[in-house]
């Protein structure tokens, strides 16, 4: 899903309107990246403040939504680095942690995408990412060369990444 070709208006009122329209998509991205809703909202606030300050320097030939997502990602990276310096209690980014709350929607998406995988891909994906098995263990278990296991795993990840409407 590539950001649409929305251009950023130059006057303040129109810019504010643009931000209001582009905000949900930016927040959706940040929700996926951040560990919590509160972190996502904090980073969104930082992003909006930043792009508001920089609105005069925006090149109108650029894609507005892509510009906003880019700014949001940079703010997220800064926020993440700050949190890492402050210690683990802040925890901006715990998306890779199994302790992260898994929403029903996410669980449903994952289940749906796993169903689209072949049995071997599914076993490799779950074996490696859910059960903590090493690539060598998986290769030995399935009697496959290590590189073949990696190729299957990469394909499985690509299937996991696809949206419902995309073809497998």
């Amino acid at each position: 899903m590539a950001p649409g070709s929305v251009h950023v208006p130059t006057d303040e009122a129109a810019f504010a309107l643009f931000l209001r329209h582009a905000q949900p998509r930016t927040l959706a991205l940040l929700r996926r990246l951040c560990a919590s809703e509160a972190d996502a909202e904090d980073v969104l606030q930082e992003t909006l403040a930043k792009v508001w300050r920089l609105r005069a320097s925006f090149d109108a030939r650029q894609n507005g939504e892509a510009w906003l997502l880019q700014a949001a990602f940079r703010c997220f990276c800064d926020h993440r680095q700050r949190s890492a310096r402050q210690g683990p209690t802040i925890g901006v980014d715990e998306a890779a942690s199994p302790m992260r709350t898994c929403s029903l929607e996410l669980r449903d998406e994952v289940r749906h995408r796993l169903a689209a995988c072949s049995p071997l891909e599914r076993e490799l994906l779950l074996g490696f990412h859910a059960h903590g098995q090493s690539l060598r263990d998986l290769a030995a278990r399935h009697g496959l060369p290590l590189n073949t296991v990696k190729s299957h795993l990469h394909r499985a990840r690509t299937r996991l990444q696809r949206e419902h409407h995309e073809r497998d």
Binding site: M1, A2, P3, A28, L29, R32, L33, A66, W67, L69, Q70, F73, R74, C77, R80, D93, A95, A96, S97, P98, R100, C102, L106, R107, E109, V110, R111, R113, L114, A115, P119, R122, E123, L125, L126, G127, H129, A130, H131, G132, Q133, L135, K150, L153, H154, R157, L160, Q161, E163
Partner: protein
């Protein structure tokens, strides 16, 4: 770094169980190519969510192994069993025999009307009577003092409403 190189680097990073966001080159690429941000975020989030539906998918997969991760719930169960065992042992453990403390129960209680005033419909005092032996040593009357084996512990007052 083009898109293919990025994809390969991303998978290598995941194969090594590293967080792609800890890799400066990957982060730089993503910042320069915001059109790839959403699909990257989807992959990262779904990989993190993989451990959740593992049990649901386990039935579909034929040779899935039991989860290795020590489940937190197992620790809770063990803790609960230990607590239940401790309570059961404490309940049946013989208590050491000794002098029984004097009873401190309420022997009697009475309601006594106090100083009716204008605006106060009625007020009562509840008194409880204690056997002298049950008095705390600090409250025990000294010789010559009048013995008052009772104590006021509550006063109620009901006020009439303004008209």
């Amino acid at each position: 770094m083009n898109e293919t190189e990025f994809t390969m680097a991303l998978h290598e990073c995941l194969d090594a169980r590293r967080d792609p966001l800890d890799e400066p080159t990957l982060c730089r690429h993503l910042a320069e190519h915001p059109e790839q941000l959403e699909s990257f975020a989807v992959l990262r989030e779904r990989l993190a969510g993989l451990s959740e539906p593992a049990a649901a998918v386990a039935g579909a997969a034929t040779t899935l192994h039991a989860r290795r991760r020590p489940a937190l719930s197992r620790l809770y169960v063990i803790g609960a069993l230990a607590l239940a065992a401790a309570i059961a042992i404490a309940a049946v453990w013989p208590t050491p025999a000794g002098p029984t403390p004097p009873s401190r129960g309420i022997l009697a209680a009475s309601l006594e009307e106090l100083r009716p005033r204008a605006g106060a419909a009625v007020s009562f005092t509840v008194r409880q009577c204690w056997p002298p032996a049950a008095w705390p040593s600090s409250d025990r009357p000294r010789s010559g003092e009048p013995r008052r084996p009772d104590s006021i512990f509550e006063t109620y007052e009901m006020r009439s409403e303004h008209r």
